[in-house]
């Protein structure tokens, strides 16, 4: 459903994403992990059509994101890591606006919007301006916005940031059910427990390159440590084990 071929993004001399190849088939929840600055957000923003790749191809359901952007984006919902939205719209107005961007309107949008707001406990806030929402509530509204037009693919950057435990649980259930219905999700996260329990397959990116990709079992084999959890595998594959001596840091 999502296909990346030698996807590259350069900012001047700096290569943020370095010729990565990935295939995410339909009906799969794909985890995208990596240390800070590894190129996760850049990759996801390119898939969402926000950034233009320097080289390579991105296809959503066989449609090229660069050549036919509107057709590709019509199948896609994007959830960014920072919940910036129009402060002066109400929650329900925001959902109507997002649906409108995809040419959708009417009773079905209203119904879907209400259901999504209710799912995330935002029903009582539906007619209140977004400026009075907390960080977590904004995040929940943006997640609702990504689902309101029923996309086939969801691309999501750090979905759990700012969510309360109940909302986090709701979101995990929603993701699982959504994928079970044959849709596709590509998700970046730093919460390794979430990735380990939720994702069908995981890719680990480091300095713009995919260093490993596969199921949890495949990753374990790749890291050559049979019974390890994802945290150990992640630290081993990304070379992040050598942390500074904490005592030294705190005494500095």
């Amino acid at each position: 459903m999502i296909s990346l071929e030698r996807l590259t993004k350069k900012y001047g001399d700096f290569t943020a994403v370095d010729a990565i190849d990935l295939e995410v088939p339909p009906g799969q929840l794909f985890g995208f992990l990596g240390p800070n600055g590894a190129g996760k957000t850049t990759t996801l923003r390119m898939i969402a059509g926000i950034l233009r790749p320097t080289d390579g191809r991105i296809r959503i359901g066989g449609i090229d994101v660069v050549r036919q952007p509107n057709e590709a984006k019509a199948r896609l919902g994007f959830i960014p890591d920072r919940p910036f939205i129009y402060e002066k719209l109400t929650g329900m107005e925001f959902l109507r606006f997002v649906a409108g961007l995809y040419g959708q309107q009417g009773a079905q949008v209203e119904h879907r919007g209400r259901e999504l707001l209710a799912l995330f406990d935002l029903e009582d806030w539906r007619d209140e301006l977004v400026e009075s929402y907390s960080h977590g509530m904004r995040q929940k509204l943006i997640i609702s916005g990504a689902f309101v037009h029923r996309p086939a693919v969801i691309v999501v950057d750090e979905p759990m940031v700012g969510l309360d435990p109940k909302a986090a649980r709701t979101l995990k259930d929603l993701f699982r059910e959504y994928v079970r219905r044959g849709h596709t999700i590509m998700m970046s996260t730093h919460t390794l427990e979430v990735a380990q329990h939720l994702c069908d397959r995981i890719a680990i990116i480091r300095r713009g390159r995919i260093v490993a990709a596969g199921t949890m079992d495949e990753l374990r084999r790749h890291a050559e440590h049979g019974a390890e959890g994802l945290e150990d595998i992640f630290l081993r594959l990304t070379g992040e084990i050598a942390a500074r001596d904490l005592v030294e840091v705190l005494d500095a």
Binding site: K73, E93, L101
Partner: protein, 566 residues
């Protein structure tokens, strides 16, 4: 450098340092084409200065040649210019203070750090003054140069101008910040809407009163005075002896005419110092309460009422996407007090303008056929300038204001053409209504001929589209996505460039039209058969310039929108 205890000896500078570093980073690590940008800015800026300087210098040289009353007239003109600077400064300081003292994002960090109240006050005051004053300083430069050269000022004038202008900039900054502090304390919980309405209404009243106090039309009609002595007495009399603008005018004219009196300079400096001290004391007493009030959440509901449902139906032919974009534009605008409150200001500007047209002496000595027919073109030029200012404030920031939500627009299945379309039309239609309204009302007041009426209305219509196209175009080519305050966006490089281009456009259009129109009218009044060819060529040329200025910037903007990555 930190001292032994680790504290900085100049905490004031430490607090301002991030702003300085940000500004430097923007200059040093600017995007591609920075050299071109600065060259263009330099050329356009110099051209603008040259024109402003040239016009003023010519008028002043004429004044300088008139014995006795020449210097008085020049002084009175300076008084009017400086007074308008003062009112602009006061108003922009009030608005900038609201942002820098109460709404800026970095205040959480500063207020939670052990930064003492005086450091916070002085650093924010400096920031407010800088934001509000730089444009006035740029405008004042050609004015001061023209005065200095026309009256052979010399180095003494430069010193007097520097010594007088500095406290003149500090006074409205301290006063504006104190007024904002008081208003934030008076009104409950984050009621910026109310605060700005009050500020707007106060400014409205203030401006109208000030302009009427000056009675500029009186000076244009010396024959209206009983004697020359009375005219000179009026000129010599101080128009507003308690205003800093009057003191500055006395400092400048005193140094130019060799009758320098130190008292106005003392008054400027002592008032500036006193206001800063009083402002600091007010800040110490009331800032913590005001800041807390400004942070309280605004619990506001907005349900879809009959108005929105009606609008939804009216906009239905546009299709779902464009309708939702237009509805979003309207909602965001009318719910944002920093945006709509400026409509009050706009109403004041227009009211002052129309009132002044009403008082123009259209009959009497010296009112030749030429002058009577030039006035409608002058009216068009001034209306165009008012439109350009409004477009700079409301249309220019339109694309920049999408900065934080760019991810949503970019990742959805819409073309940038639709976004640009919505931005252009939601801005242009109200502007067009206003423009045609102003020109029709002023033309009726000026009692222009049907021919001039048709030319005026046609020209202002085309000019509105051109100004709107330029505003959206420049706003997209030079976006300020990171700006916290919509009011600050037009004061950017792109905003300046837009204003200058718009003024140049107005000039070109009027030059193309005025001469053939005048020839046509004089031929007709002389009973001759007027030659239509030059008139048609002039009008067609003006129309072509307007159409080019509408479509070219929009085309470039569309290309830029497609390429924007953030």
């Amino acid at each position: 450098m930190p001292d032994e205890t680790g504290a900085r000896p100049w905490p004031f500078l430490a607090v301002l340092r991030p702003k300085w570093l940000t500004a430097r980073a923007r200059t040093v690590h600017g995007e591609k084409g920075r050299a071109v940008r600065w060259t263009v800015l330099g050329i356009v800026g110099l051209a603008f200065w040259a024109v402003a300087f040239g016009l003023l210098h010519r008028v002043l040289r004429y004044f300088a040649g008139v014995d006795e009353i020449g210097a008085l007239l020049a002084g009175r003109l300076l008084g009017i210019l400086v007074l308008s600077f003062l009112s602009i400064l006061l108003l922009s300081n009030i608005i900038a203070a609201l942002s820098s003292f109460f709404l800026a994002k970095d205040l959480d960090l500063l207020v939670s750090s052990p930064v003492d109240w005086l450091t916070l006050y002085t650093s924010r005051l400096a920031e407010t003054a800088l934001h509000s004053s730089w444009m006035v300083v740029l405008l004042a430069l050609p004015m001061l140069t023209a005065y200095g050269l026309a009256f052979s000022g010399g180095p003494g004038f430069v010193l007097a101008a520097l010594a007088g202008f500095l406290p003149f900039l500090v006074i409205p900054a301290a006063l504006g910040s104190a007024l904002t502090l008081t208003l934030v304390n008076v009104f409950p919980a984050r009621r910026t809407r109310d605060i700005l309405s009050v500020i707007g209404v106060l400014a409205a009243a203030g401006l109208v009163v000030l302009f009427r106090l000056i009675r500029p039309e009186q000076l244009a009609r010396p024959e209206g005075f009983r004697s020359l002595v009375e005219f000179i007495t009026i000129l010599r009399g101080s128009s507003s002896p308690f205003l800093p603008s009057d003191w500055l005018q006395q400092v400048l004219m005193g140094s130019l005419t060799g009758r320098f009196d130190p008292l106005p300079l003392y008054l400027l400096w002592s008032t500036a110092a006193a206001l800063v001290v009083l402002g600091a004391l007010l800040h110490r007493a009331f800032y913590p309460i005001g800041f807390t009030k400004a942070q309280e959440g605004a619990q506001r509901f907005a349900r879809e009422g009959t108005g929105t449902r009606f609008l939804r139906r009216v906009l239905a032919p546009l299709g779902v996407l464009r309708r939702e974009l237009v509805l979003k534009e309207l909602r965001v605008f009318f719910r944002d007090s920093t945006q709509w409150s400026q409509l009050i200001l706009l109403a004041v500007l227009v009211a002052v303008y129309v009132v002044n047209i009403r008082y123009l002496p259209l009959s009497g000595d010296g009112m030749t056929f030429f002058i009577v027919n030039v006035i409608p073109f002058l009216n068009l030029a001034l209306s165009g300038f008012v439109l350009a200012s409004i477009a700079a404030r409301f249309l220019f920031p339109a694309v920049s204001l999408e900065g934080r939500t760019w991810w949503l627009l970019r990742s959805s299945a819409m073309s940038m053409r639709d976004l640009l379309w919505a931005k252009f039309w939601t801005g242009t239609l109200p502007l067009l209504g206003l423009a045609v309204g102003i020109v029709v009302v002023t033309d009726v007041l000026l009692q222009v001929s049907p021919f001039m009426f048709a030319v005026s209305v046609g020209t202002i219509t085309l000019m509105t589209f051109a100004i709107a196209g330029l505003a959206i175009g420049f706003g997209t080519l030079y976006p300020r996505f990171e700006s916290e305050n919509a009011a600050q966006i037009p004061t950017s490089f792109g905003g300046l460039l837009f204003m200058m281009t718009a003024i140049a456009l107005i000039g070109v259009v009027l030059v193309l039209e005025a001469r053939p129109a005048y020839e046509w009218l004089s031929a007709r009044s002389a009973g001759e058969a007027p030659a239509a060819s030059s008139l048609v060529a002039g009008l067609a040329g003006a129309a072509a310039v307007c159409l080019l200025a509408t479509f070219l910037p929009l085309r470039l903007a569309l290309r830029r929108l497609d390429a924007i990555e953030r």
